[in-house]
């Protein structure tokens, strides 16, 4: 059963990656993507502060990064 799950997971990742292979740009087309505001985590300080607040005020955590705690606020 575990083996089946593993095969399914590998297959899913492979399909996802191969689907991605049709997307993308050439190296010389990346000017806009290289802008700081286009980085996925373009505001790490803001995200760190937000994650801490919402972790301590709501029942959810993680997603963008690891869900683990680190404080006694929840």
């Amino acid at each position: 059963m575990k083996y089946a799950h593993r095969v399914t997971a590998i297959a899913a990742i492979s399909v996802a990656l191969s689907a991605c292979s049709g997307l993308g740009v050439q190296p010389w087309e990346r000017g806009v993507l290289a802008r700081p505001d286009m980085a996925p985590n373009s505001a790490p300080m803001t995200n760190a502060l937000d994650d801490h607040i919402y972790f301590s005020k709501e029942a959810s955590s993680g997603g963008r990064s690891f869900a683990g705690g680190g404080c006694g606020c929840n």
Partner: protein, 431 residues
């Protein structure tokens, strides 16, 4: 703002950012090898009549080599104010013993019981080291230490990211292990035992307990075209150990729906300490889409979380940056959040129906953070670039827990779970 010097740095920053490590490559884009790049932030958080917090962060990124960085981050977190203890408001005044067991406080009729001794200072230190393992694979190792008066957390993480498809696709995968110890004021109460009068021997089980958390995260960052990219992450988190809030209680109510009194002389409320499961498995799916519209950019993300406590939540986050010029920007922010209640959430027990003291097989919590709830955030940030970029943001956050469906009798005349509002002010400055 500083700009990326080349794409590999940009994508390296993107891929490590995906996994929650800091964007060393991004912030160190213009630093020379050997230099330290320092940045800072401070958050002021205030709920009227409840919690206030001040949280400064200082971060340094050392460029060890052109593609290798060491990041050190120090966070202080100072909390004061009052926090809801889970008891229901009543149409008469209620007395509660403070967690220390020494002293008590009185909540007026019609008021939400708030424990006003909430005060703590947390110090957190994070270190992460990022280096390439091969031309296409990078590794980030992280260590975190967080310490406060009654809580200590140690964690270590490793994250790898590999580029494919002419670096248009980045696969990231990581693991984090955390070990926490809680040593609360007044020790750890016995589950479902009654609160005692101040000065009387309290119902305490032990002085400390611990918790371990294992987190795994796998994600893909994909460039779509020259203006857009997306991120999809899946996270699995398994926590085992003490996850009860030692300061939270549940009210016992009579047949009229009125909170009962344990001691008529002192007015001590008839409440029992909560108990939560000692295991929690969380699944999260996170999707983010970024798109540039000429000089401006959209950052849209959605998170679904589901755990075996029965909590399902949806989080939608939208930021739009208006880059007015190369020197300044405005960024409005909207966040919408909705969660369903935990299976064991309940606002009260009818007197006599509560589990017997010490029963670890039953679970219950009246913590509104585990209740049905919606929340939203509205914010606006203004930022300036240049030699020392800075940004100032103001945000308003409000939580609206739903009134418990089983409320009855006189308790329905009370505002059982009033909305919680907060104002946040955030300032960031790069040295």
């Amino acid at each position: 703002m500083k700009s990326y010097k080349n794409l590999s740095l940009a994508l390296a920053g993107a891929s490590c950012a995906l996994m929650g490590s800091s964007v060393q490559a991004a912030t160190a884009g213009e630093a020379d090898v050997g230099d330290w790049d320092l940045s800072s932030a401070v958050l002021f958080y205030s709920e009227p009549d409840r919690v206030s917090a001040v949280e400064p962060i200082l971060k340094g990124v050392k460029r060890i080599d052109t593609d290798e960085t060491l990041t050190l981050k120090l966070t202080l977190d100072s909390l004061t104010g009052a926090s809801a203890n889970g008891a229901l408001p009543s149409d008469r005044a209620q007395t509660f013993t403070r967690p220390s067991g020494n002293g008590s406080f009185v909540t007026d009729a019609g008021e939400t019981p708030l424990d006003d001794t909430f005060r703590d200072t947390r110090v957190a230190f994070n270190a992460s080291w990022e280096k390439p393992l091969s031309r296409m694979t990078r590794m980030t190792l992280g260590a975190n230490l967080s310490s406060e008066y009654d809580y200590t957390s140690l964690s270590a993480s490793s994250t790898f990211s590999t580029d494919f498809n002419q670096r248009n696709t980045t696969l990231s995968y990581g693991l984090s292990l955390a070990a926490d110890t809680i040593n609360p004021e007044g020790e750890i109460p016995i589950a479902f035992s009654a609160m005692k009068n101040a000065g009387d021997p309290p119902n305490r089980r032990t002085d400390s307990d611990d918790k371990t958390t294992v987190d795994a995260l796998v994600g893909v960052t994909q460039v779509i075209d020259r203006n857009s990219l997306f991120v999809v992450n899946y996270g699995l988190s398994q926590a085992d150990g003490y996850m009860t809030d030692p300061f939270k209680v549940l009210s016992l109510v009579d047949n009229n729906g009125r909170p009962t009194v344990a001691d008529a002389q002192t007015g001590l409320a008839d409440v029992v300490y909560e108990n939560r499961p000692d295991s929690r498995t969380k699944h999260t799916v996170y999707a983010q889409y970024k798109r540039a519209f000429d000089a401006n950019s959209l950052d849209l993300s959605y998170r679904f979380m589901s755990d075996d406590w029965g909590v399902d939540s949806h989080t939608l986050d939208v930021r739009y940056r208006f880059n007015r010029s190369a020197q300044s920007y405005w960024e409005p922010h909207v966040r919408l959040y909705q969660q369903g209640e935990a299976d064991f959430y309940r606002a009260f027990y009818r007197d006599g129906e509560q589990p017997s003291a010490g029963d670890q097989t039953e679970f219950a919590s009246a913590d509104y953070r585990l209740a049905d709830m919606t929340a939203y955030t509205l914010g606006l940030e203004y930022g300036r670039s240049g030699t020392h970029p800075w940004a100032l943001a103001m945000e308003y956050y409000t939580q609206s827990p739903n009134t418990p469906a089983d409320a009855f009798g006189v308790m329905k005349k009370q505002d059982l779970l009033p909305p919680v509002d907060a104002v946040m002010l955030r300032f960031k400055y790069d040295f």
